[in-house]
Structures are given as C-alpha cells and as structure tokens.
Symmetry: C2
Subunit: 436 residues, 2 copies
C-alpha cells in the first residue's frame, strides 16, 4: 500500500475565560489559537516509517516489518475508535524502548504516533512505509495545546492516508476542512493520542484543534459556539515556569480557607465567561462595535483580577498587563497562570470598525463566514487592524520582548484542522517540512 | 464667664475594608488612624472669639458682642443636641460672609466652629471670649476624616469648656478620655458640625474620631468592635486627585452593566470585611500570630483586586502595591480610590510576635488593654516592630516618597478623642498650638 503526500495543520488553544473556575464546575471558553502545527505525511518505498519532530529534536525510524507482528493478531480497527488499547500502548512502549513512567515529550510523541499509525492501519493488508514530519509555531509545554495540535494533525493525516476520511482538495491553492462526521472521527482518534501523552486529558484541547473557533466547556460537556468572530491578539509567554498541579491545588486550598470570599469569585468568573460568550455571539451575528470591544476588554481586566485573587497571578503577568495597558491594550493570563502565557486583545481601530460595518451593510451580510470560524472583523490590512492599531500592537510587542518575554501577534477563533496544498503553506513552513 | 485652657485631640479615619460595597448594603470596617488633629482652647479677656487653622491658612476673629444677638432670642441649648438648626446656619453664613453654596474648606470650618460655639453656649448668660487653635497631622480632603477629627475636637473642647462634660486630668502628664455618655454627646455635636461641612455625612467619620478603635458600618448602623488590636501601618497619599462622587457612580454603572459579574464581587467584599472582623477579634482576645497576619495580608490583596474590578483602582495605587510587595508588604487603597490614599500593613516581625506571646502568657492576660482600643501587639521598639520589621518599613517609606507619594508610618485601631495635659503633647504639636 502506497500513500500520497499530504499536508495538514491544526491550531493551538488558549483559554479565553474560566481557567481554574472550570475545575469547580464553572463555564470556561477555550479558543483556537492561530499558532499552528503543520504536518507533512509522505509515502515512501523505504520499508520504514519515520517520525521527525524538529521542535523537540526527535527523529525516529523503524522497519515496517518489525512493527507488523504487533498488529498481526489484532482485529481490523481502521476507522473505528473505541477506548484506548492499553495493551497496545504497553507493547509499543517496549518496542520503542520507552521506560515505564517516562513523561519526556519526545518519547510521548513517538508513542502517540506509533499507536495512531498502528491502530489506523490495523485492518490494512500491509503497513505502508511513510515519513511524517511535524513542525509547530507553538511553544511546547506552555499550556497552549501543542500536544493536541500534534495528535489532531497525526490523526487527520493518517485517517486520510488510510482513506477513512477524504483527501480531496478542489483547487491547487486551496485549503480544505472535513465534514462534521469526519471531524468527529479525527477528534476521537486524536483524543486517544492525548490520553497516551497526558494520561487524563479533558478533551478540550483536541476538540479546539479539530473544530477551531470557540468552545464552551462546562461540567465535562464541550459545546462549539456556532458563529464566532476572529479576534486579533498578542500571545505572550512570560517564560516563568510553573506547575499546573500546584496552582490548581493552591486555588482549592484558598477556597477551603476562605469559602465565603472565594465561592462568589468563582460565580463572578462564571458570569464573565457567559457574558463573553454572549458578546462574541452578538459580534459574530450583528457585526462588531467599539462598545463590544470595550466589554471584551473589561471582562479581561475583571478576570485577570479574579485569577490574582485565586492566587495564580505572578509579577511577570502584572508586568504584561501594565506594559500593554500603557498602550491602551488589555491583557489577562491564559491557562494555569503563576507565570506561563497571557493574551492581549488587539482592537481593530475605529477606522477599521467603520469600514467593516460599511462593507457588511453593502454586502447585506454579517461579517462572519458561514462555516463557523471567524473572519477578520475589519477589512483593512492583512490582519484586519487599522494602521494606528497595527502601530500600537507593534510597539507593545517590542516592549514585551524588551521585558524578556516571547511575543506573537496572532488571532483566536480561526479554523481548526485543515488539509493543505503545498502551495498554500507559508514558505517558511514548507521549507522546514520538506528539508532533508 | 471665663474658661480655662485645654488641649484635646482626635484621630483620623481609614476604611480597612468595604469601601464602595457599603453603598450597596455590605459591611464596612472603619478604623481610627493615628494621625491626629490637636486643638487648644484658651479663655481670653479680649472680648473676641478667634479661630486659627494654620493647615488651611484660616484665621478669623469676631467680637463676642456682635455674635450675642444671634443667640439672644434662642432657647438655651447647652448640652442638648437635636437636629441641625438650619436657620442658625443661615444666620451664621450671613454673619461670617460665607456665600450660599460655598464649599471652601476654610469657610466650612468657620461655619462649623461658630455653630458649635453658639449652640454650646446658647444657655450661658454671656458668651465667653476665647481663642481656638487647631492643627492636624492629617492631609485635608484625602478621605481621612480630617473634618470629623476637627468637629470632634471642637465639640469635646467646647462642651468641656461649658462644663457639660468633665475636664479633669488626674495626673500632670496624663491624657484622659470621657465616659460613654459624654462621648455620645461629643459625637452628636460633632455630627452637627459634619453636616454643616458635608451636607449629608454617614456619621462614621465622627464616630471613629470619637470612639477610636474599629467600627463596623452596615446598612446605616454603626457598631464599635469591643476589643481590637493596634496595627502598625504605612499610610500613603498618592496625591492623585479624584472625585468620590464620580467614583461611586462609576461603580453603580458597572453593577448595572454587569450585574451577574458584580453582585458576587460585592458579596465577596462583604465576606472579606466579616472575615477581617473575626480575625481582628481573635487577635485582640487570644494574641496575634503570624498566621493571622498572613490572613490580614491576604484579605488586603483580595479586596484591592475587587476594588480594581469595581473600577476604582489607579496606576498610582498599582505602583504602591508593587513597591511595597517588593518588600513583602501588602497594600490596598482606602476610601474612594481612583488615586487618593492606600494603607500598607506592617507585620511586627516574628521575634516581636514571640515576645508578645511570651509576655501575654507571663501576665496571664491578653495583649489588649481593657478600654477597647488596641495596644501594640509586640513589646519591642516604641512602635511595636522588631528591628528587621522596622528596617523593612523604613525602606518602603523611602521608596514610596521617591515615587512622589506622601507617606506616614502610623497605626490604626488606637484611641478616639482625648483630653491632654500640655506636657503630654508632642513638642512639635505644642509649639504650633502655642505659637503667636
């Protein structure tokens, strides 16, 4: 069986509101982060399967013949996806020489790859030779869903290579997504990969990487928002290391110490998430206004204070908020806090908002595309920002980098997993994926 | 009628917790601030009454004979205190040449003085000649109850001069307070003065200046806490001007805009005040521990974030919090916010806490004096701070002044209005009050 070349990508994830509160039964909003992970799958005649992960200096190759015995006595599973096959994981661990209890990201990524490859092709007569190369714009281990973007890419590419889901691109320069049913399958397989890497993931990260846009997460239930705007943001990594586990237990301790003070704070965070959801829905259906951006900024400020009250703030995050506020921009931590990453909302600028409104009126349509992912709310500039807004953003980025932070100008609410033509990829990405 | 010389003083006020929330029916804790206003009343044979307020460059004098007609047709009111006599206020306004609607602090202070003087001596055969000089450690118009400290001093001195309340000092170097009944009378008269100055005051400021210690204010009801610790603090004036009225209406607007978010925040502030009250009571009755200081610090941090959520924070207040936190000290705004003043809790230091505990055990008594005002929780140093704690405080004061703020090292929870012997006054204060 020979498989053709294909390129897929999937976005990272940020928590817009509700981090920590979600652990205590409150609503959280998870959004796709347009720092993407790109994968190239290339059929070969080498009799080998190779995985190449340059971000984490991992390169492994195996003879397909050596892998065959691991699946020969197994039932055909191609396209079906039940519970994680723990016995297969154990065999693969032994096969790949990964010690029990290892949490090394390279080892975990290799295990997930082998599992998805073998499960995906379990029903095939012979296992295909292939080379898989993955490169990500996302920093690893920063709470931005890099592992989910990876497993979603793997899952989409392998299912497509197997023919379980379609591989059609209608135009040479196009990118395409999959049907709802196919996305559901991609997500299920990716979730198995996430389980291998994380043990007990919530499923939010892979859902965001699969569907993109904005997801509401509440009491274990994940609901995509039907129409969402695309929002420009700065993503800042303070590079302050933290332990999510310790932060989560610290919040719990604080709730136990001051229940009468902290329970209302969690309620307030819940209301922040719900108000944000409502505002985003209005922006997507009726067009964005300066007032709605004001509201989004106010909600970010409020939640940042609430998170500090929960004890997951950090002086580096205060610096982020202060530096961006000096440019009129509003920030909050995203994810576990205690350092880590923060997001800063970029306003399109008044001129851009007016133009967007005008265009929407002329078109007699809303500013949102029909597939559920947002489109830029403003028409001017490649990134939807007015010139003034763009200058403000650039000055803020410069200062944040001066302060020792990593900073990206990107967007949230964009598309999930995509199938790409080579020519539709950014040149830099194509270079990394096709270099030898 | 000739009156003798007497010196009185009364403290300022700070809000420990519950500012703004109190407007919406939540609990607030008001505390005496040991920046005091001092008054010297001196009987003269000049046939004049003089008021001298060097802090606000106000010096006025009138012939007693010119004032007499204003009260000659009035019933004796000495020692009784009903509603504010608006007719008398109007007469005095005309007499003193204060324009209708003037809010100038000098004019208001003069009106309050004349009102309390005339009402106090209304039943006397002749009005006594006297010179009253008032000097305050409090900044004016900073929300620290300077007008209440002034009217409480006036009220106590005039009632004592009239003989309505006692004027006895048992020892040459002593200071003394008054009986509960006398304090109630002082407070009632002072409240009339506050009404002249402020129009519609809550009555909290004059109650704190009268009784000292800590008062709980809830739904219009003022309750003194029976036993409270004395806490060392830094009081910082950011000198950022603000309008209390605008800040209060801004909070209201925010509650109206985001009720589901803001109502729980007010509930949380209420719980902060109640938890603080409980902690202070424990500290006063069972001795202070490091854990209790931890709690007080946590409560300050939480409330500062809540106040920022209400929209009454300010970059200058953030600077205050950041600078002090760099020394391990915790701060919050006090009063209206939006600039204005902040308080920083000073911990006595571990050595000081241990010594205090030891002394308390040896005495077989609590560390609190019996009259309801706190005593320092630690025995070492004139201010109850250990050497290390004192050095930390001094460094913080230095940096805050470098940042352009005014900063005082003082205490909260100390005594209310006091009668002094001249020799018991700080020399600097005595110099100001007796200079010509």
């Amino acid at each position: 069986m020979h498989v053709g070349e294909r390129f897929v990508s999937a976005p990272g994830k940020a928590i817009l509101h509700g981090e920590h509160a979600v652990v205590h039964g409150k609503v959280a909003l998870a959004v796709s982060l347009n720092l993407r992970t790109y994968l190239r799958l290339q059929g070969t005649a080498s009799g080998q399967i190779c995985i190449h992960l340059p971000n984490i200096d991992t390169f492994r190759a195996w003879d397909v013949a050596a892998l065959q015995p691991l699946v020969s006595d197994r039932k055909a599973a191609g396209g079906r996806c039940g519970e994680l096959d723990l016995e297969l994981v154990e065999r693969l661990r032994a096969f790949a020489g990964v010690a029990e209890g290892s949490t090394d990201s390279g080892n975990m990524a290799v295990l997930a790859f082998l599992y998805l490859y073998l499960s995906g092709f379990a029903g095939a007569q012979t296992l295909p030779s292939m080379s898989v190369r993955v490169w990500s714009e996302l920093p690893t281990g920063a709470g931005l869903g890099s592992s989910a973007a990876y497993t979603v890419c793997l899952s989409a590419a392998l299912l497509s290579a197997r023919g379980t889901i379609s591989s059609l691109l209608t135009q040479p320069q196009d990118t395409a997504s999959w049907s709802e049913e196919e996305l559901t399958l991609i997500n299920k397989w990716a979730f198995q990969g996430e389980k291998i890497i994380h043990g007990n993931p919530s499923g939010v990260d892979n859902a965001v990487a699969t569907w993109g846009g904005i997801l509401r997460y509440h009491a274990g239930k994940i609901t995509p928002l039907s129409r969402v705007p695309l929002l420009r943001i700065l993503l800042t990594n303070t590079k302050v290391p933290r332990s999510t586990k310790l932060l989560v237990s610290g919040v719990k301790d604080k709730i136990n110490k001051f229940p009468s003070i902290m329970v209302p704070v969690l309620e307030s965070v819940d209301a922040v998430s719900r108000t944000c959801e409502l505002t985003l829905r209005e922006m997507a259906t009726a067009g964005a206004s300066a007032q709605q951006y004001d509201t989004l900024e106010e909600l970010m400020d409020i939640n940042q204070h609430h998170l500090s009250v929960m004890g997951v703030g950090h002086p580096a995050l205060d610096t982020l908020c202060r530096l961006t506020l000096a440019h009129g921009l509003h920030s909050k931590l995203t994810g576990a806090g205690g350092g880590g990453c923060g997001i800063t909302l970029l306003r399109p600028g008044i001129e851009a908002l007016w133009l967007a409104l005008l265009l929407a009126l002329l078109r007699g349509a809303s500013t949102t595309v029909g597939n559920g992912w947002g489109s830029p709310l403003a028409p001017n500039g490649a990134n939807g920002l007015s010139e003034t807004a763009q200058r403000v953003a650039q000055e803020a980025v410069w200062e944040l980098r001066e302060a020792g932070f990593e900073c990206w100008e990107t967007s949230i609410g964009g598309p999930g997993v995509l199938l790409h033509c080579a020519t539709s990829l950014p040149q830099g990405v194509l270079d990394v994926l096709t270099s030898h």
